[in-house]
Structures are given as C-alpha cells and as structure tokens.
Symmetry: C2
Subunit: 448 residues, 2 copies
C-alpha cells in the first residue's frame, strides 16, 4: 500500500500535477509521510516538501533522518527555513541542531527569533542523556493565587504554542515549583475556585542532570503525562512529555539488546544504516571476543596430550561450552533487565546470588541426569567419561549462573552499563571456565 | 531510605500508633507504597491497608503482586471489597479478575454493580494480547452537533470517572466513531462553536482484535495520549490510554530479551519469581539446546581421525564456534529489533540479505587478516593450518550473518515470534555449520 502511495506521488510529480499532489499530501499523517519522503529523489523530495502546509511541513520534517534533513535545509531559502524553524517545538529544534553540521546550525540559529534562540541555548547546555537535554520550555506555568477563570484566561492566551496544557505548573514569584494543577481538575471546578485548592503538592519531579533513563522509569512507574524538570534550587526550568519518554524507553531497550549482542548501539533504523557503518558497530566486538576466545584455545592446547589419550572427550566440548554459555546468558539477561526496570538494585547482590545458586543446582542436576542417560544409552562412551561430563555440567552451570548474574551488578557498581555483561562476554568467560573444570574433572576421574 | 520507611511502618504498627501511621501512609505515592506493602507480614499488611483512604487503597491495590492481592481480598469483608472494586477503573478490575482464582473472581463480581459487571464481561471476552483486552470503557463520547458549552457541561457531568478527558470522541447515533476533539481545542475555542468544527476526522484507530504490540507501536509512532478501539462496523467500543501502552512496550521488550536468552517469558519481577518457577522457565530450553549441541559433538566425532592426525586443529574450535555464534547473533538481534520496531518488514528479506552479505564479507575478511597475523606470529602452527582457520572464518561469518538475519524473518512469516530465533538457536545452528566448514576446508588444504 505504501509502495502504491510512493508511485502515486512520483507520477504526480512527473506530470507536474501539483495541486492534486498537494491535496494528496495534506491527507497523510506526518509519521507516515516521512518514510515516503525518504524514498524520493532529493530534488523530487524538495519539490514535494514545498507543497506541504506549514504545520505539516514542520511535523514531517522532525520525523526525517538527519541526512535527509541536512539535504532539505541546504535546498531551502532563508525564508523557507525560518518558516519551518518557527513551527518547531523548542525541544525538536534542539534535537535538530544536535544532529546538523556546524554551518547548517549557524543558518538555523540565524533564522530563529532571539527568545527561542535563548531557549534553545538553555537546553543545549545540558549533557546528552540528561533530563535537561530532553525537556521542553514550552509549558504552562500559573502563579499561585489565581482563580480558575484566571487560569483559563492564561491558558487561552498562551496555550496554543505549548506542548501540553493538561498539566499546568504552579510557581511562586521566584519560579519555585509549588505543585501541579491538571486541566481535568480545572475543567471540573467552579470558575471562582482558587487554583491553590486544586493543586497537588507532592508531585514527582526530576533534576536537570538526572539520567534520561531514570526519567523514563518514573513515567512508567507513576503513569505520568509530563514531568517537571527543576534546578538545584527547585525552580521550574522545563517539562518532559510522555511522547519523549516513550522514545527513550524504546531507544534504551534497543541499546540494551544491541549491547547484549555485542553491537555498539546506534540510533539509526536498521535499513538506513550503511554497510560500512554497520561494520564499524560490529567488528570491534568480534575482534575483541575472537582474541578472548584464543585463551580457550590455549586451554585446549595445554590439555592436548590428555585429549589425545581420550579422544572421546573432544566430542563433548561444544555441548559443555554451549550449555554453560546458555546458562550464563539466561542469568545475565534476567539480571540486566531487572536492573534496568528497577526490580533489582545493587544492594540485592546476595539475594540474587542465593537465588541463582539454587536455580543453577536444579538446572545442573536436571541436565546431568538427562545427559547421563543419553550418554549411556546412545553414545556408549564408558561410565567414567559420562561421569566426567555430567559432573562438569553441574559445576559449570553453577559457575555460569553465578558469573552471569553478578557481573552485570558489578558492572553497574563501577559505572559501566550492565548490558555489556550479557551473552558474548559471559560466554567467553564461561567457556574458559567450563573447559578448565572439564579437563580437571576428567584428569581426576580418568587418571589422565 | 525505603528500608527506613518500612521500619517506621513496622514499628508504628507494633506500637499501635494507627493515627500517626495513617498520616504517614497518606503522604506516600501508591507506586512507592505497594513494594513496601509487599514486604510486610500478611496480618500487618491487612491492618496497614485498612488505614488507607479509599482512593489510595484502590491505587495501591492495583500495584500489588497478584499473590498479595489474593491474600488481601481473602482478609476483606464484602463491604471492604466492594469499596475497593468501586474505586477501580474497569480495565484495572479486568486485569485483577484475570489473575485471581475462580472463587475470588466470583466474590469480586458479586460486589460489582451491574453496569460495571457488564463492562468487565465485555472486555473479558477479548483474547489476551489484543487491543480489546487492553482497553477501558471509561472514555468521554460526545454527540455530533454539540456546542463547546454543551461539551464542557457533558464532561463536567461525566468526566470525574473517566480515565482521560483530554481526548473526547465524537460519535453518531449508532456510536459510529466520527472523529476526536481534544480538551485543548475545546479550552481554546469559543463557547458557541460547534464541536464538529474542532473535530479531527482522520484519526488513528485500532480494531478490537488488533495485537497489543501493534497498538503500542502506534502510540510510539504517532505520539498519542489515547487511541480509540473500534469494532468491525467502526463503532467505538473503548479506548487504550498511553500509560497502558508504556506497560506493553516494556513488557514486550522484556519478553523479547528473555526469548533472546532462551528463557520462557514471565511477567513477574525477577526477585518475586520463586526458584522452582525460574527453573521451569529456563530448563526446557537448556535441555533442548543441549540435545541440539549433541549434533555438533557428532560432527567432531566423525572427524576424530583427522583431528588425531592434526591435533593443532582442535585448539581453534572454540574460537571458530564463538566467532560464528557472535556474528550470527549480531545479525539476528539487529533484525529482531528492527522487525519489532517496524523498521524492517517481511518483504524486506532480500534487502536484508544483501546488506548482511556485504557486512559479513567485511567482517569476515577483517577477522581473517587479524587472525592470520596472530597465528603466524604467536601460535606458530604452520601456514596451512592458519589458512584453513582463516578461510573457515570468512565462510562461517557469511553463513552466520545470513542465517542470523533471515531466520527471524522466516519465523515471523510462519507465525512464530522472531525473538526465539536469537543467539541460542542461531548459535547451535551456526556451531554445526562452522565445524562442517572447518573440517572440510582443513581436509582439503591439509590433505587429511
């Protein structure tokens, strides 16, 4: 269906049926139109873009990839650029500026009115990944002491440009945040009521420098539509809205999954990332893990004579390594996710270890029994080899689960992202451990 | 800090200082209070719970684990139960009923007024995981033709019990959905305006049976606060609000991560899942993967004589298997996440393969060159063994990336969850493949 739409746009462009195209484009949703725009040739895209209404143009623009945005801005006249920038919410303008090359940034700032420019610079000074960088300054602030009728008048006067008018923030003369009054309570109240009687005082806030992941977690936990951002003196400096929190939640989940799979995170969609860029995100980890795996090779080498004496032992190396790796990654992913959802904290490390130790014993014993049966019935490798493999299984599953569950917590404690302690790293460590256990157990039981 | 709060509650309970405890509890946020309640002894919890105000009791109740809810309900008199159930939003009541044992469900429904009971049964008839099961029936519906003043009067009369009044839905006499009018546009309009002039008609909707993951995706894509749910005749039957969409996004991300790590998903928090339950979520996959790994062992066994002739080959088995596994899991996780965010569709399979093939060649060649250098300089295993290992690397990385990227798409096409095609399965398949390639390349080059 989208292909059809793209063809329709292309053919209307070719036949120069601009009026018809304008009507077609006006019916689309910006979030659907943006990916279509991405697919067009740059000149066709610039023409199609000029046919959009002002609102629509701005809303579609923020949905585009940054490469496409740069190309479009280069094709704009200063007047056209100003029209788009004026329509953007301040936080979207900041996102745009953060992605653009320096000369484009200068052009954008030149086209921005002084007040907006001040607001943009205010947000730009906060480090990436903080609440400050995520917030918008377009919120409704109401002075304490207003009546509901006054509040309505204030909202009508200023509300059209605000990102949300549903949470209004009550401040004193120093802009200190006193509380929040919702549009719902205003709408259900009498005109003469004073807003202070409707104000919730114990509200959830975040500091400007708070991690944006923590901000997103608060949205999820407390079911919020917006969260006020305050400075160290409790003065209101901005708000974060729920749509931005959802983006953070999705980005963070993607980042965690990428790190768990040994990929350097990127915020570009999969098919929009070039081959070379994808390579740069993956190859450092593959190289690092390949080198680490060499240690596993060294362990095998040092037991070469034992292996030569009992060739049957070699056949079980992949199974032991895989099972240990899988056991470890189950534990590490469970703990990484629990840490990121706030279900497990750093202080819980002993509870986690105690739980994983018991799960590991259950898992290890089940696997050992199943494997012993299989080896005696099908592999016919002799009692002592079977015993060596099964004893190794129990010990390595225990090691793997303990290592897998504690390393993410340790990583967090020393300031790393727990997600890097997932499958690939755990596997490498646990591989080496399981081989050491295997060869030592085998040497002991088989007198090698 | 939370521990302190728990100690404070416990000691106030022990000293029977109920008035002081009531004041302390009233200051808490339900989302913070619920985990504290979980930690209390059942009888202490029942006492503390009775000290909560009606609103607070209901809001805290929905945040509790279902085991704790069951215990509490058993301690309630019918009158107390009715008080809680009356305060619940219908969708929360449905969630509660879905988790409770049958005799508790009967008691809850007995305490519910007939209208709410009808609404609950309406929602209960939709399968889990659909928009219908996620929706609430407490929304504001406005008849076409009303003035803004009429609309306000309607909202004031009915709004107090609605989950959101910020999106109001305009329906005709048959409850067919005509569009949406936002509280913002109502607040900024004149009293005499007709709402039809403020109504957005091209709005995003979902069908009752649409997958809840799809619903969440629409929230993220279109930045919505609520989404109307319509039946097959476009009649409005309910709405889904953004707080529920956030829960779905987080649950789905957790589920995907768990599946990627070969764990059967559970919606219980990590530390609230018992050892035995955790074991049941993990052991089936470990057993299955252990059995699959046996095939890898068989491959090694069938090349035992070749390995005995060139023992040096054995030392590189772990590195080759790990690198292949890591390469495959990078590709599979990238594609699984892109599928779930809607960045890749089933029709993109050829584009994905073409991209992964090029990335794989770049990665494989880099790894081969690095490895060849390392083997010649440090391992000193001879040119032909080094060549065999490096040629195997290039071929297996290519295989691994192609298998890793296409299996999730294939899984989706035949109706499985792509996430099960992540690391553990890919690793098992790719392990076997890489050994087959290794032994064949080695036999060829070393004339074994």
């Amino acid at each position: 269906m989208e292909m059809e739409m793209k063809d329709q746009i292309t053919s209307l462009l070719e036949e120069k049926k601009y009026r018809q195209l304008r009507d077609l484009l006006a019916e689309q949703n910006p979030a659907d139109l943006a990916p279509l725009m991405e697919e067009l040739e740059p000149t066709a895209r610039a023409v199609a873009f000029r046919l959009l209404g002002k609102d629509m143009a701005a809303e579609t623009f923020v949905e585009l990839e940054s490469d496409t945005q740069t190309l479009l801005i280069r094709s704009f006249s200063d007047a056209e650029l100003k029209e788009i920038v004026d329509e953007l919410y301040v936080d979207d303008a900041v996102d745009l500026i953060e992605e653009m090359p320096a000369n484009v940034v200068r052009r954008i700032l030149d086209q921005t009115d002084p007040e907006t420019r001040r607001a943009i610079n205010e947000i730009l000074k906060y480090p990436d990944d903080t609440a400050g960088s995520l917030m918008t300054v377009e919120y409704v602030a109401l002075r304490t002491g207003l009546t509901v009728a006054d509040a309505f008048a204030n909202i009508r006067r200023t509300g059209i440009d605000k990102e949300t008018i549903y949470n209004c923030y009550v401040v004193d003369d120093d802009r200190k945040l006193l509380g929040m009054v919702t549009a719902k309570s205003l709408m259900l109240a009498d005109e003469d009521d004073v807003i202070d009687d409707l104000t919730e005082h114990d509200i959830i806030t975040v500091r400007t420098l708070e991690d944006k992941e923590e901000v997103a977690r608060k949205f999820a936990k407390y079911d919020l539509l917006a969260i006020p951002v305050v400075d160290s003196e409790d003065r209101l400096v901005g708000i974060v809205t729920v749509d931005d929190a959802i983006d953070v939640i999705q980005e963070e989940a993607t980042e965690d999954m990428e790190k768990m799979a040994a990929i350097t995170p990127t915020d570009k969609p999969y098919l929009h990332t070039g081959v070379f860029e994808t390579w740069t995100k993956r190859i450092p980890w593959l190289l690092l893990l390949m080198i680490s795996a060499a240690f596993t090779g060294k362990i095998i080498q040092s037991f070469e004579s034992a292996l030569a004496a009992q060739v049957a032992l070699t056949a079980f190396i992949p199974m032991l390594m895989d099972t240990a790796g899988n056991s470890g990654s189950q534990a590490s992913v469970s703990v990484i996710r629990a840490l990121s959802l706030g279900d497990v904290r750093m202080g819980d490390v002993l509870r986690v270890m105690w739980k994983e130790a018991r799960v590991a014993l259950l898992c290890g014993l089940t696997l050992a029994v199943a494997n012993f049966g299989k080896m005696m019935l099908f592999d016919r490798v002799g009692l002592w080899v079977s015993l060596a493999v099964c004893v190794t299984l129990v010990i390595t599953v225990l090691f793997a689960k303990l290592v897998g569950s504690t390393l993410p917590i340790l990583a967090k404690r020393i300031g790393f992202d727990p997600a890097v302690m997932a499958a690939p790293f755990i596997t490498t460590i646990v591989d080496a451990l399981s081989l050491l256990v295997y060869f030592n157990v085998a040497s002991l039981l088989l007198h090698l």
